[in-house]
């Protein structure tokens, strides 16, 4: 699931579901999911992961199966329920700013 601004940027349109379905081969990790997302939506490159370091941008968080995956390694395998498409991987913008 993507924040509204990234859905708009990706051309998904206002009011559409926040959910994007991706085909990702094993292993299903944050890195392989984001690689697949950026391959499908190249305009999202640099918006979730910093160019250069490849690290999560500071004001974004990742959640899977009600657990915070923000500080897990990019290459750690995501829960099976996410890999199998039964549960979403959430990319959430911090509630901050003006």
């Amino acid at each position: 699931m993507l924040p509204q601004h990234l859905r708009t940027l990706a051309g998904l349109g206002a009011g559409v579901s926040a959910e994007v379905t991706l085909e990702v081969g094993a292993p299903v990790t944050m890195r392989t999911v984001l690689d697949a997302l950026e391959a499908r939506f190249p305009m999202l490159r640099g918006t979730i992961r910093e160019y250069g370091t490849g690290q999560r941008r500071a004001f974004l968080r990742f959640f899977a199966c009600e657990e915070d995956w923000s500080h897990e390694g990019m290459d750690k395998e995501l829960p099976g329920a996410v890999a199998e498409g039964r549960e979403p991987l959430l990319i959430i913008g911090a509630i901050a700013g003006g």
């Binding site: 490159r45 640099g46 918006t47 910093e50 913008g93």
Partner: protein, 371 residues
């Protein structure tokens, strides 16, 4: 009949304000990129329908948007701004070494002879160039590699390269300005750069006449006289008659010489505009009065322009890229405020009217004069 198109960047999106040559009835379109900070929008002089916009966010980073139809539709282009080589360090606010980190694009300057060429001034300060309409970006690393980079320090708004001026008479010459490093010039298309800060005096830095370290807020040039430059420094209005090699102060009778914007009349190279701001600790106009000051003598002698502008209880700021002039026979002048107003004068500043009053805080204003 001629038309004008005013391109407005705000803290929460971009807006396009359009009118015919009379400039009395305006259409407002937008917000474009709603919710994002739009530091700058500028059109190409080669192809006026080619617009570039800098779109950024603390959450999602930097985007560059391009329009090929005058702002009706937009598409994201390249947003990878990678410093050449090992970026190294500059000074942090406390004087310690701090790694160079890309944060955002402050200013986009389309090329004068090719609509696909565009320059980007970024924070942390560096200059990038795209030759493919924004698809890819390459740093002109000679600027940061000039040797003084480790001594550059951020101003309060960050260490930004905010001003890019292309010399219309010499394709190899370009000026840039950085807060707080100063002004620089290249005479070989961006390979080598020299600081051009002789004559600047900044009493807030350890060496007030240092070669670099000055908080230059903005620089303006008239295209017919590219060797004459005007500068709004943190404090002081400065003028150079030799392409920045030497500067002298022309603040004259201004009520305060702190400010951000400075611009030049489209047809009168000695007519300048500034908006004095009370001080570096009180970023609003003095005495609750919004006054544009005009000099018709290239500086030193200034007159307040107030007709149509609020003269009581006004406490707005006008940021460095938030003033522009059109090139109609009777020069139009435009500026935007931190309160979300965009004011226009169709008679070189004698009379002002608000085009819009309630936009988000205005970050930048550019204008296109269309046939």
């Amino acid at each position: 009949m001629s038309k004008v198109r005013v391109l407005v960047g705000t803290k929460k999106g971009a807006f396009i304000l359009s009118a015919d040559g009379k400039r009395d009835k305006w259409e407002v379109s937008g917000p474009f990129f709603a919710g994002w900070e739009i530091y700058h929008v500028k059109g190409s002089a080669v192809d006026p329908n080619r617009l570039y916009a800098s779109q950024s966010s603390g959450w999602f980073g930097q985007m560059i948007q391009r329009s090929d139809d005058g702002g009706t539709t937009w598409a994201p282009v390249g947003n990878k701004f990678a410093y050449e080589g090992v970026p190294g360090t500059h000074q942090w606010y406390d004087g310690t070494a701090h790694p160079w980190e890309f944060k955002r694009v402050w200013h986009l300057e389309p090329g004068l002879s090719d609509a696909d060429t565009v320059y980007a001034g970024v924070e942390d300060a560096a200059l990038f160039k795209s030759a493919d309409a924004g698809a890819t970006w390459e740093e002109l690393a000679g600027l940061r590699g000039h040797g003084s980079g480790p001594h550059w320090q951020p101003g309060a708004g960050g260490m930004c390269l905010h001003t890019i001026i292309l010399d219309p008479s010499n394709a190899e010459r370009m000026y840039i300005a950085i807060s707080a490093a100063g002004a620089f010039r290249t005479d070989d298309g961006g390979k080598a750069w020299k600081p051009i800060n002789k004559g600047l005096v900044s009493n807030t830095i350890p060496d007030p006449t240092a070669e670099v370290g000055h908080c230059v807020h903005h620089v303006a040039m008239h295209k017919a006289r590219p060797d004459v430059l005007y500068m709004q420094k943190h404090w002081d209005i400065m003028r150079s008659d030799n392409a920045g090699d030497n500067w002298h102060e022309v603040s004259g009778n201004l009520p305060t010489d702190f400010g951000f914007v400075i611009d030049v009349h489209a047809h009168e190279p000695e007519t300048l505009y500034v908006v004095p701001i009370k001080s570096d600790s009180e970023h609003f106009v003095p005495d609750g009065k919004l006054r544009v000051y005009r000099s018709r003598t290239g500086g030193n002698e200034w007159e307040a322009l107030t007709k149509g502008l609020p003269q009581k209880d006004c406490y707005v700021n006008v940021l460095r890229d938030a003033m522009a002039v059109d090139s109609l026979d009777e020069c139009g002048v435009y500026f935007g405020t931190s309160g979300g107003q965009v004011y226009a004068s169709a008679d070189a500043g004698d009379n002002w009217t608000p085009i819009v009053r309630d936009l988000p805080a205005v970050l930048s204003v550019e204008v296109q004069t269309l046939a």
